[in-house]
Amino acid sequence: MKKEILREAKYRFNFDRTLYVNQAAKKAFSLEFVEDHSEEELATRIKEGASDSGWIFYFNNAPSDGVKRELEKVLGA
């Protein structure tokens, strides 16, 4: 179950943005990405190392820098 995988990895669902967010790891998965990718793919992405330079967003369509900036403001630095 994808939701179980995300929950165990301490991702919480942000209802306003429909994102699964891990504040500590500074990583977020869009609902669309989670729905359209396999459990294996999801687990692999969760295990990927965090970035030193800010948030990592896993979207079906790569978000622009503008979207990343806006989301970072909402999710916190």
């Binding site: 306003d16 943005r17 979207f59 622009s64």
Partner: protein
Amino acid sequence: MTEQEKITSRLRQEYLDLLPEIRRVLAQVETEIRFYTLPVLHSLNPYEKLVIQARVKECESAVESLRNDQEGKIFDPERGEDYSLRNLPDLAGVRILAFPDSRLIEVDNVLREHFPGWLSKPVQNENGSNLAPKYFGYRNKVSQRVRGEYQIVPMLLGLFWEVEHAAMYKFKPIANSKEMRGLRADVESALFRFEKRFASFVADSMQPSSEDL
């Protein structure tokens, strides 16, 4: 003003610009649907129902719909000018509530003849099963900017949605929770099966029995 607020403000302005056309499209589509379904209305049995409702999508609802189409529910500030409410198919919407299912199918067939070019996008449940036929398209003589939409909904399901949507809109986190989504699916499934089964009972009871032959 933030980038998000700028985009939202421009869309609100666009809405005001489109509103007279939205109203005209709605008047056209609603009137046509009432006219084309009149023979069905006049042939209803006492227990059967056909109700037609029309609504202009509200401004904030339209902006939110457009925003909700984006991953992360956020407008991309780098393509702010690309967003347009004209991309929404349901600014002018008509809902036809029909009971029982046989009347829904009859209305669907009648309207398909008169809206032949409109695209089908049925309302689906979480499992991808079709719950209600839905179509959208242009009435070019009225507007080439605003599309109309109509959906034909099993009446019990439609009445449930009226109550459920209004209540859940105020409590979105709860509405989207696993438990509420499950409960909603249970209700929809039960009402859908009830309407289908009722229609088949009626059809069976209309069959002449062997004693009548």
